[in-house]
Amino acid sequence: MGHPGRHYFGGRKLSRAVLYLVLTALLLYTLMPLVFLVINSFKGQAEIVRNPLALPDEFTWDYIARAFTAIHFPQALGYTLLITVLSEAIIVLCSSLCAWAITRRRGTLPTVVYLCFVAAMLIPFQAVMYPLMSMMDTVGLKNIPGLILMYGGFGMSLSIFLYCGFIKAVPRGVEEAALIDGAGIFQIFFRIVFPLIKSTTVTVIILNGMWIWNDYLLPYLTLGTSEQKTLVLELFYAKMTSGQFGNPWELVFPAVLLSILPMVIVFLCLQKYFVKGVSEGAIKS
C-alpha cells in the first residue's frame, strides 16, 4: 500500500530507478579505493605515479612476492592470528562467566561490580597507556603474551556489558533443575548456559576481533621494533622505512593488499554473522 515517491518523482518505477542509480554510484565510490589498491599492487613505482588509474601494462606477481618477504607475511600472519585467537578466548571465557555470576547473584554487590566494568568504558586507551606500559615492562610482559593479556583486559567491559544484557533474559529454571540433578557449577555453565548465549558470543568475538586484528597502537607500544610483529606493525614499519627512499608505493600497495586480504576473506565468508553482530551489539548498548 502507498506510493511514497509519487509526488516527487512522478511514479514509483522512476523513483526506484533513481534509487538504484544513486546506490550503484555510492557502491562504486566505496569500492574505488580497493579496486585502486588491487590494480596498483601489480605495478612498479614509475608506472603507479604515471598512471595510477590504469590497469598494469604487464601482469606480474613480482611486487606482491617482494612485499610478501618484506613484511614477513607468514610469520606476521601467524602472530596476529595467535594474538587474536588467544585474547578472544580469554575475553569470551572470563566475561561470560563473570556476567553470568553478576546477573544471577542478587544484592548490591553484583550491581557495583557491573557498574565498575561499564564505567570503565569511558576510559580512553591514552589515559592508561603510559603507566600500563611501564608496569608491563617491570613484570617482563612487554611481549606477545603481555599483549594477549592486555587485549583480554581491554575487551572485558564491553563484553560483560553485552553478556549481562542477554543473560538477564535467560530463565534460571533450567539451571536449578540441573543443580538438583547433581551437575557442578562449571557443568551447568558450559552445558546449559553457554550454548544458550551463543549468539552473544558471536557478537563479542566479532566486535573484539575487528578491533584486535587491526589495532596499531597497542602492538606499536608493546612490541615496537622487536622481531615479533603483527601484520599492521609490519606494514607500518615497511611504510616508514620505504619512506626514506621517497615513498616506493610499489612496496606499500602490495603490502597493504596482503595485510587486508585475510580480513576480507573472513568477512566475505562470515558476513551474515558480522551484520548480526554489529546490529545486536548496537541495540544492546
Binding site: L27, P33, C94
Partner: protein
C-alpha cells in the same frame, strides 16, 4: 539456588576482575597520580615518588603547550565535521536500502566492507589517493572538475581535517548504517499505514514517525561516532602523521614524549587525564541528553 550462586560468585568473577584491575583500573589510578609528578617514564626527576610531586605544574604546562591546545581544538572541529558527515551518510544509506528489496544484501555488504579494513592500511591507500589521484587527476585544472580545495589535502592543516573526515566517512558510514537499518526495522509498519490514511505525506511521515522512533538508534550512533572521532589515531598517523598542524589529541599524547627531550611523561600523562575528563563528560552528556528525548512505544 540463591545461596548456590552466592557461594560461587567470587570464583566466577575473579578472572575478569583480576584482568580488569591489572590492565585498566590500576594503570588508570597510577596514571592519575603520576600526572602530578615529574615522572620521566622509568624514574622520577627529583628522587622518589613522594619527592617528585609538582602539584598542578604538568597541567599548567599542558595548557601552555600550543600544540596541545591546538590539537584539542582541531580534534573538536574534526569531531563536529565527522559526526555530522557520518550520521547523515549512514542515515541516508539506511533509508535508501530500506526502500529496496532486490540487491539490498549486496549493497549492505559492500558499504560495510571498508569498516573491516585496518585504519592504518587503508590510510596509506587514501594518502596516495589524496596526493596523486585527487591532486593530479580528478580535481586538477586539467582534471574532471577543478576544485582547488580538494588538491594537496594532506599538506594543509585545514584541508587535512576534511581529508580525514572523507576517509572516516568512507570507512565507518557502513557500520552506522547497519545500526540505523536495525532501528528502522523496529518501527511498526502499521504506524505508516495509519498516518497515510490520515493524509500525512512522505516528508511529514519521516519527521513525525521515522525520526522520533529512530531516536534510540540515533543515540547509539551519535555516541559511537563521537567517541570514535575523538579517539581517532590510526588514520591520522597514516594520512599526515600529524604534519602541518593536523595532530589529533590521541596522536598529540603519543608524541608528547618525543617532542621534549628528555621525555616528560608527567606532562603527557596530564594531557591524557584531561583527555579522559573530556571524553567522559561528552559521553555522559550525550547519553543523558538523548535518553530524555527517546519515545516509548
Amino acid at each position: 539456588m540463591d545461596r548456590y550462586y552466592k557461594r560461587w560468585f567470587w570464583l566466577l568473577v575473579l578472572p575478569a576482575i583480576l584482568l580488569f584491575v591489572c590492565i585498566i583500573a590500576l594503570p588508570f589510578l597510577i596514571g592519575a597520580v603520576y600526572s602530578f609528578t615529574s615522572w620521566r617514564g622509568t624514574y622520577f626527576a627529583g628522587g622518589s615518588l613522594a619527592q617528585s610531586f609538582v602539584g598542578l605544574d604538568n597541567y599548567r604546562s599542558a595548557f601552555a603547550n600550543e600544540q596541545f591546545v591546538h590539537a584539542l581544538l582541531y580534534t573538536t572541529l574534526y569531531t563536529v565535521v565527522a559526526v555530522i558527515a557520518i550520521n547523515l551518510v549512514a542515515l541516508a544509506l539506511a533509508l535508501m536500502l530500506n526502500n529496496i528489496r532486490r540487491g539490498a544484501g549486496l549493497f549492505r555488504t559492500v558499504f560495510f566492507l571498508p569498516n573491516m579494513l585496518g585504519g592504518l592500511a587503508m590510510g596509506f591507500v587514501w594518502q596516495f589517493i589524496f596526493q596523486v589521484v585527487y591532486t593530479e587527476l580528478l580535481f586538477s585544472p586539467d582534471g574532471i572538475l577543478h576544485v582547488e580545495f580538494l588538491r594537496y589535502m594532506t599538506q594543509d592543516g585545514t584541508k587535512a581535517l576534511f581529508a580525514l573526515a572523507i576517509m572516516t566517512t568512507w570507512q565507518s558510514a557502513g557500520y552506522m548504517m547497519l545500526i540505523y537499518i536495525g532501528g528502522l526495522n523496529a518501527i511498526p509498519g502499521d504506524l505508516y499505514e495509519a498516518a497515510q490514511i490520515d493524509g500525512a505525506g512522505p516528508v511529514r511521515r519521516f519527521f513525525k514517525i521515522t525520526l522520533p522512533l529512530l531516536m534510540p538508534s540515533i543515540t547509539v550512533v551519535l555516541f559511537l561516532t563521537l567517541a570514535n572521532s575523538f579517539k581517532l589515531l590510526d588514520q591520522n598517523v597514516a594520512l599526515t602523521d600529524g604534519a602541518f598542524g593536523s595532530r589529533l589529541i590521541a596522536l598529540q599524547i603519543l608524541r608528547t614524549t618525543q617532542d621534549i627531550t628528555p621525555p616528560n611523561y608527567g606532562v603527557a600523562q596530564a594531557q591524557a587525564v584531561i583527555f579522559f575528563v573530556i571524553v567522559a563528560i561528552i559521553s555522559l552528556l550525550q547519553v543523558w541528553l538523548t535518553r530524555r528525548k527517546e519515545v516509548e512505544f
